[in-house]
């Protein structure tokens, strides 16, 4: 059990409308990622679901019952905060046991659940330490442990990995995804990092300025972005968005081609341009190519592609994978 339905939810702080009327259905067991640039309202949306902020209008249903005015503790949700929000004066054991203690469980039961959670999260050796003596990744796991023991209907994650270094972030990403497989509980995850969104989500919700731009599976969003914003936001490196006569000749205001959908050659090619900076990642090389009349394009080439700075190369976009957008920025389906 862990379905959440938002109906016409809005949120305003004073006169600023942070969330415009918004509908969203989250099914039981889904891993949903809210993604968007900073200030798009994704964290606010999560806090509305958690009950830490009151919604201005609309309603929230959890498991089919109206939860709009239910206090946070009674919603059956657990939240992991960006700063981890561990209680610094309590040991790891007490931190994890805190929600159980508040729920009035007796000591024996608490101990058992804490031990189980610690085993799942590899924290057994650290149970008697204080949060201040742990590394960032361990603190993150304690925060997750504190959420797990409550056996909530849904987990809420508020940018949980943004304080970790790149390598650790990669590991924790896998651990959280694995945890979702094990627990099969609904998870809602907020991030500004589209890589996290793509790799973890069952369903991505792209937000911008308090409006949902698109909802869909990662590959749906990648293959068929609903508008220019989603096209530019999902995918790394970002999609090349081209305006002007080249777009007009294809009957669109803007056309988009992903860097990986170019066919590169040293001679020939549909568009020819001069190579600027090239980034060698080993397996791939990303080339910044200056094409006259179109602008600077990013293209992915094979790692062994011989182009160097100042060389002229040819780019041929895969005609099947050119995205076309109209005046309003919306996708023109072909």
């Amino acid at each position: 059990m862990g379905s959440i339905t938002l109906k016409k939810v809005t949120k305003s702080f004073d006169k600023t409308e942070v969330i415009r009327p918004l509908d969203l259905q989250i099914d039981d067991g889904e891993f949903v990622v809210f993604v968007g640039p900073s200030g798009c309202g994704k964290s606010t949306l999560l806090r509305l679901i958690a009950g830490l902020e009151d919604i201005t209008s609309g309603s929230i249903e959890i498991n089919g019952t109206d939860a709009t005015s239910v206090p946070p503790a009674k919603r059956g949700l657990a939240m992991v905060f960006q700063s981890y929000a561990l209680y610094p004066h309590m040991s790891v054991r007490k931190n994890i046991a805190f929600p159980l203690k508040m729920a009035g469980l007796d000591k024996k039961e608490r101990e058992k659940k804490v031990t189980d959670a610690a085993a799942v999260l590899n924290l057994t050796d650290y149970l008697d330490r204080r949060p201040g003596q742990l590394s960032g990744g361990q603190r993150q796991r304690v925060a997750i442990g504190r959420a797990i023991v409550r056996e909530p209907d849904a987990f809420l994650f508020d940018e949980p990995l943004s304080n970790l270094d790149a390598a650790l972030r990669g590991n924790m990403r896998l651990e959280i995804a694995e945890l979702h497989q094990t627990l099969a509980t609904t998870m809602i995850y907020v991030t500004h990092d589209q890589v996290e969104a793509m790799t973890m989500a069952d369903k991505i919700v792209v937000l911008q300025a308090g409006v949902i731009e698109q909802v869909g599976s990662p590959m749906d969003l990648y293959r068929e972005p609903a508008n220019v914003f989603v096209a530019g936001f999902i995918g790394s490196p970002a999609m090349n968005l081209i305006e002007g006569p080249e777009a007009k000749s294809r009957g669109a205001k803007t056309i988009g081609v992903r860097p990986e959908h170019f066919d590169l050659s040293m001679d020939g090619g549909e568009w020819r341009g001069v190579v600027g900076v090239s980034e060698h990642l080993g397996s791939d090389t990303f080339l910044r190519v200056e094409v006259e009349g179109i602008g600077t394009l990013t293209a992915r080439a094979d790692g062994e592609f011989p182009a160097r700075h100042g060389d002229t190369v040819g780019l041929t976009p895969d005609p099947e994978r050119i995205h076309r957008f109209d005046e309003a920025g919306l996708r023109i389906s072909s």
Binding site: P71, P72, A73, F81, Y87, H89, F98, R146
Partner: protein
């Protein structure tokens, strides 16, 4: 890495400060010790030579000795309890966003700027005067007989006055500590199901632990030596004679410097005993 050379250089450079502080403390202490073993009556024959532990014995055997220690501890304890409890509550209150926050905070801090002598006199004459005081009028308004504060409730009065003076100090330090609490911790505990009172005892109070320790230690140091408030209100009468007040009476009213000095050494011993107890109880908060 500090070499032998740089370490000795550091010692050399710290020496003046250390020597100055040490001298500042040691000279008066040594002089007090010196006088405490001598019979020294400035108006009745001056310095009349060594008397051994006579001064200590007669100070200890005086009927005022134990009551004065009791009074001292009662005032220190009473003021500590009042300032800490109300300090925490006021700090939480002032931390709430409200209109005119800046002015309210300055007003709360104001009593700390009033000199002890002045504030005690203001309390004594404006509030607690049994004929013209505000309290007397208030009591009469409700048909009660006005309390003669300075004689009937002398200890309560002094504890009230001193608490009023020190409450701003406690509030100020605890307010800054309250403000440094991460709001996500409170939100996390809210989601974890902690009710407001539980949030206070499990999250807020432990967070204030270190600030509370500072408040208690600093206040104890100053409250053990409280003098002006007693001098201008009861003059040590009605069971308000603290140890430091007793020392004052021996030295200046009885003109017996030897006896007063012995009392001073007792005060040092008392302060150390209190300090040891306090460090045992609250000192561990400073470690982590």
């Amino acid at each position: 890495m500090a070499t032998q050379h740089s370490r000795s250089a550091a010692r050399m450079m710290m020496a003046p400060a250390v020597i100055l502080l040490l001298g500042w403390m040691l000279v008066p202490l040594t002089m007090t010790l010196w006088f405490s073993f001598r019979k020294y009556l400035p108006l009745r024959g001056g310095d009349m030579g060594w008397v051994g532990f006579d001064n200590y014995v007669s100070f200890f055997n005086s009927s005022s000795f134990w009551p004065s220690i009791q009074t001292t501890l009662l005032i220190v304890g009473g003021v500590l309890i009042i300032t800490v409890v109300f300090g925490v509550l006021l700090a939480l209150l002032l931390d709430q966003p409200m209109w005119g926050q800046g002015i309210v905070r300055i007003l709360v801090i104001a009593p700390f700027f009033v000199m002890p002598t002045v504030s005690a006199l203001v309390w004594k004459n404006i509030f607690m005067d049994p004929v013209n005081g505000l309290f007397a009028h208030l009591w009469k308004f409700f048909g009660a007989t006005p309390v003669v504060w300075m004689s009937q409730a002398s200890m309560e009065s002094i504890i009230l006055i001193v608490s009023w003076q020190w409450l701003p100090f406690a509030t100020l330090i605890l307010l800054t500590a309250t403000q440094s609490l991460d709001s996500e911790q409170l939100e996390a505990s809210e989601i974890d199901g902690a009710r407001p009172l539980q949030r206070f005892f499990y999250i807020i109070l432990p967070h204030l632990g270190r600030a509370l320790t500072i408040v208690i230690l600093i206040q104890t140091i100053f409250l053990l030596a409280i003098f002006a408030e007693i001098f201008v209100t009861t003059g040590g009468a009605f069971g308000t004679k603290t140890l430091s007040y007793l020392v004052f009476q021996r030295v200046l009213e009885s003109q017996n410097i030897g006896l007063g000095s012995a009392g001073g050494i007792y005060a040092v011993i008392l302060a150390n005993i209190v300090a040891i107890f306090l460090m045992r109880i609250v000192g561990k908060n400073l470690d982590t």
